[in-house]
Symmetry: C2
Subunit: 459 residues, 2 copies
């Protein structure tokens, strides 16, 4: 099955050469290559500044597919190809407007429709507001007080958490399930405090789901900026009968055809064993998605660029997969798994970068104890690069569906403090990503990929 | 000698209470207090946005003295006082201008005078340029080719370094000693590539010294932005005879009176043993010095605010010292040591935060092996807070002069990747500091201060 390609010829002797080098030496070369000879930052520049936001089904998402395919074709893969996948197409429409109507005073506040929400009536929606701090609280408040009103979810992300992702997990049910649940109590709309640890004026969008409630019970739902949420809450305290107005014209269309972008280097020794590294090509529509997940896309491509610069050809088959539609459907991740099952492929390792392009700190690992301990034992190799955190936890959404006889999954774990300053908001732009932090993340991913390729996983 | 104060009364029982708590519990409370109940970010807001840049001898520096003294007086110190110190007063004057004159084409480039530089003649200075990459290279080039020209130092900071401070150390001699050395070869001015790992348009100022060369041999020196340096270097390759023009009107005045700000809590058990925590109040003049070193100032104050919130009174005497004139003279640090010697004080510990308000990673320690090992053994206590790096190295410039029978010195070590994006440049502003990162740094400092206070140092 081993395919002889130009790249293989180019890399003849690679295994022999690398057998003579210590892991310390190779990691040093990897980090040097990333910091002095990488392409990821200029790829991100193009994705962010020349293409821009890449919501599934949008023209920009298609541009990103073509651009990354074309760039990957320059990297010396054995093959680069597209995987067809049908994706949802949700369109925001014209910019949302909202205000607090307190007696006759209108105070404009920044909102944005949540992904998948329906529109309000064309002239908007006005109603009284019930503030709650959890979905459970709906029950306490009761249908009589909720019916015909807007439910305002205002539980902040928990600032006590050291890892911002833990604070996110503890609050995001309000965004994802809030509308569906409030609808059951007769609410006619929901407003959700943005998933943001800061107080600022950016509303943060993100996926929401009506689950299996009937379409007739769908209600419009939007995020309000954290400052807006504070303001609304304060205003409600002095006038519980104030009204809230919002207008949004978003729309869900039929699914459209899109693609995962895949690049493959066939392994020199174990072509049947596949290692995946990836991020997601789609982004929310409010900004360029430079952290979420432009960073992960270009870092995954950089893994191969670094191997190319080092003249290293992996023993196992290496695939870079740029997944489509992580944000509002995960169709790309599911499709990749579906096709993999059909071909009866054997994945041994999958790594995703989808936590922003910040200074890398370690890996979040999904695997058994034996493999966890093995990866953790690489700790000292990573110490010179300030990589120290090897924890069990979520690896990545796109590689989530992937199953195999035995698979180790890893998520790059960057410093998380600033992630939710930008997440799904209009400020997730190129200038929020630091070149060196992005490059160090790519080097960290490449290093683990190299170590897994050399050492295998414990079957 | 133990002074009974209101604060002491307030804290009666503090030692008993804390003897019953595990270190794990206390650190948890410290981080919680920092992330949910801190003042450091609003102090920084005032220092940056209401006061602004604080170069020694400026009105703003004096405002900062008064402001921090007044805020410290609200924190329940036993005493807050000023230490008089004479500081240099250097004034930039009107904004510098510079251009490359290539035949008849003028290309404007961003420069700024280096701190301590003399002015050019009122109508500026025009000369041919000799590009070098090190001070040593002056010798190779020789006096004949340098005399009457501008020396352009263009060795970039080394991007291969993982820690940006190492890259800085490897390049900053060009800025600090460049003018003095070039003058010896007859240069009439120097232009230095900014100490910045990025390519951008910000010139970065910083201290330079003419050392002991005669005043008649002083030559004007300025930093050029990294993009400007690239442009000039490229232009020189195609036309080695191009000329460079720059004009600056900076001036060195007589020394003026300024102050260190000191707050003191007298130790409950060992009042004779002093622990210092501090940062420097002065900043360069191009921006607000939010990272350098507004962050260190407010984090040092926050240490006491956290202890106050926790009801913890230290066993040893704790001093917060906000040093004046770190940037261009270190007079505050030297004066503090001088006064300490006169009073025959015994310092056991000194900690400085002067590496930016970024996510904390650990400590850089100056002490003997026994104390280093002891502090490193706190590693596991810090692990939940992602603090992992305990290294031997520079602690802080202001605490540098401090001597004592036996002293342990520590520098907070934040993530260093973005520090030189802002260092001494016009973008070192409040919005470049993340609230949570700043607070986590303060918590990390407080935690080490607590552990040293509880465990002492190895004499």
């Amino acid at each position: 099955m081993k395919k002889i390609t130009l790249l293989s010829l180019f890399f003849i002797g690679s295994s022999v050469l690398y057998a003579q080098k210590s892991d310390e030496q190779v990691l040093k070369e990897i980090y040097k290559s990333a910091l002095t000879n990488s392409k990821c930052y200029s790829w991100l520049d193009h994705l962010s500044n020349d293409i821009g936001s890449r919501l599934s089904g949008s023209t920009n998402a298609e541009k990103a597919v073509l651009y990354t395919k074309s760039e990957m074709e320059k990297l010396g893969f054995d093959k680069v190809y597209l995987q067809e996948v049908m994706v949802p197409k949700w369109v925001r429409g014209e910019k949302e407007t909202a205000y607090i109507l307190d007696n006759k005073t209108k105070t404009i506040v920044p909102i944005c429709a949540l992904g998948g929400s329906i529109a309000t009536a064309p002239n908007g929606l006005t109603a009284e507001v019930v503030e709650v701090h959890s979905i459970e609280e709906l029950k306490t408040v009761g249908i009589d007080k909720i019916k015909g009103k807007i439910v305002f979810y205002n539980r902040p992300m928990d600032n006590e958490q050291i890892e911002s992702f833990h604070a996110y997990s503890g609050a995001v049910d309000q965004r994802y399930d809030g509308a569906k649940e409030a609808s059951k109590y007769g609410a006619i709309g929901t407003i959700v405090r943005s998933m943001n640890l800061r107080l600022d004026d950016f509303p943060h969008t993100g996926a929401q789901s009506y689950g299996d409630i009937p379409k007739t019970q769908y209600i419009p739902t939007a995020a309000i900026s954290t400052n807006g949420a504070e303001l609304l809450s304060k205003a409600l305290k002095s006038n519980p009968n104030l009204k809230f107005y919002f207008k949004q014209s978003c729309e869900q269309f039929e699914d459209v055809l899109s693609y995962n972008v895949v690049g493959e280097i066939i392994g020199t020794e174990h072509p049947e064993n596949i290692m995946v590294v990836g991020g997601h090509l789609d982004s929310w529509d409010l900004a360029d998605g430079s952290h979420d997940d432009g960073a992960g896309v270009v870092q995954s491509m950089e893994v191969v660029n670094i191997f190319k610069n080092l003249g290293y050809k992996p023993k196992n088959t290496l695939r870079v997969v740029l997944f489509m539609n992580e944000e509002n459907g995960l169709r790309g991740g599911k499709k990749y798994e579906e096709l993999s099952l059909v071909k009866n492929e054997n994945h041994i390792f999958a790594m995703e970068s989808d936590s922003g392009g910040f200074s890398p700190r370690g890996f979040s690992l999904e695997c058994d104890t034996a493999n966890f301990d093995k990866i953790k034992s690489f700790n000292s190799l990573f110490e010179p690069y300030l990589i120290h955190s090897f924890v069990e936890g979520h690896s990545g959404s796109d590689i989530g569906p992937l199953t195999s006889k035995k698979i180790v999954k890893a998520g790059l774990k960057p410093d998380s403090q600033r992630y939710f300053d930008y997440h799904h908001a209009a400020n997730d732009k190129f200038n929020a990503v630091d070149k060196r932090e992005l490059e160090l993340g790519a080097a960290t991913m490449t290093s683990l990929m190299y170590l897994i390729d050399q050492n295998g996983i414990i079957e």
